[in-house]
Symmetry: C2
Subunit: 291 residues, 2 copies
Amino acid sequence: MRTVTKDNITDVFTSYFGEDTDPRVKEVMTSLARHLHDFAKETQLTHDEWRKGLEFLEWAGNITTPERNEFVLLSDVLGMSSLVDMMHSEPDATSSSVLGPFHISNPPALPIGGDMKRDYEGDVLLVQGTVCDKRGNPIVGATLDIWQTAPNGLYSSQDEEQDIHSFHALMTTDENGRYAFTTVRPVSYTVPSDGPVGQILDAVGRHPWRPSHLHFIAGAAGFRNVVTEVFPDDDPYLDQDTVFGVREDLVMKYLQQPAGSFPDGFDLSGKVTGEYLQVDFDFVLVDDPAA
Amino acid sequence: MRTVTKDNITDVFTSYFGEDTDPRVKEVMTSLARHLHDFAKETQLTHDEWRKGLEFLEWAGNITTPERNEFVLLSDVLGMSSLVDMMHSEPDATSSSVLGPFHISNPPALPIGGDMKRDYEGDVLLVQGTVCDKRGNPIVGATLDIWQTAPNGLYSSQDEEQDIHSFHALMTTDENGRYAFTTVRPVSYTVPSDGPVGQILDAVGRHPWRPSHLHFIAGAAGFRNVVTEVFPDDDPYLDQDTVFGVREDLVMKYLQQPAGSFPDGFDLSGKVTGEYLQVDFDFVLVDDPAA
């Protein structure tokens, strides 16, 4: 189309598609262009504001490295990462939550009842539960990929004091679908806020905190993986997780337990000497239609 | 809000704004988040597609330099640059078009009737006209900042064979508001297509071509600047400018003129020896309300 106007530009954009364009590419690019155009028109976006947006992207590009991805962080604080997660979450399974950038490949195996805290000080936490299918049948040999911050609020990949396997573990459920491990209660922490995303948070009066959480990927042969997080119900940032990760069924009570009392089948007397916290969390997996 | 769902996430996003947030920041960020969320929901954007989008941004960040800005190019091929231009274009003035990345500061002054082509070979083009206000009164001492490609399709900043001032000029209108200069007819050219934006163009079956054009910034004391482009009406890419820059009033006939005949007041016999092309283009400026 020869004459482009502010009223026809979205149609002109779609009229440029080649005839052989993949229908899904067409669908996604049409929707993206229409929403960007509508955003500009609705806000009567000024040249200065548009330039600021471009400078934001340039800055994000400049500081992005394999260790720190400012575009992923942008997606996180805009709620896009959580939204994409939630759209593809199975309603009958445990809710999914954001994967985040701190997962590692090949975490070390930890036996049931094992200890993930090593010599770290902090509130001892026993995490236990089962992995079941949606009818409540335990899944034997399900795997839990587990990770969390050290008590200093850092993941192993962010912290020179930790080796890469620190606070990462892979556990396999027993014949009752059960898992259990001890750790130190993870802490609330901030996402990186010294870059362009931090400036956005500042501009809209938001803090960079995430509530304390344990990360899990629960999986089993024939079932869909669930990438999720478990939060304590007393965390001060639960009502304003800066990456929008909190779901109702993922918020659990961390129960104070007296010294020496252990749940059925676990004698942790060698590992846990005083009072401790306990959180019970059961995972529900649904069949993988592809399996 | 504690429980974030795919249905409430846009509201949760806006509920996080601090009380003192600037109203315009609030407006822009709310609209941006809502359109991004709606885009994701409408397309049921998959994890893989979202990851591809993030990888696109990382790649664009990696190759962006002061000389080549892939984010500006993205904005151009999505129609955003043109849309922002058009939204703030004055209806009574000459239509604006994209500035592009090749403008330079402090172009060399060129007298009226001067020559911009130096020793370059190609179709000689005489460009002439007036700068007027919206009532048709000529504006004396209006400035025209002029730039274009060399006949090889490259701007001076892209081309080691050219010095930085090549095919850049600054002209001031005479007592009749008139301007005129000779040059070589600019050529159609491609935007850079070896990066992520090129991949998008490929995926949607679009070419990377822009129709041939002359760039101008027309300005005068007390008037709003117009950033614009002038296109020949026989360019093969006029109906599909990859950056959406063509406006009806900017498409002009390049008239073939016999050797030795020159428009009123111009004796170009020293500069133009044979047949040549002539394009007449009049600029209309409107009052600057800020002046």
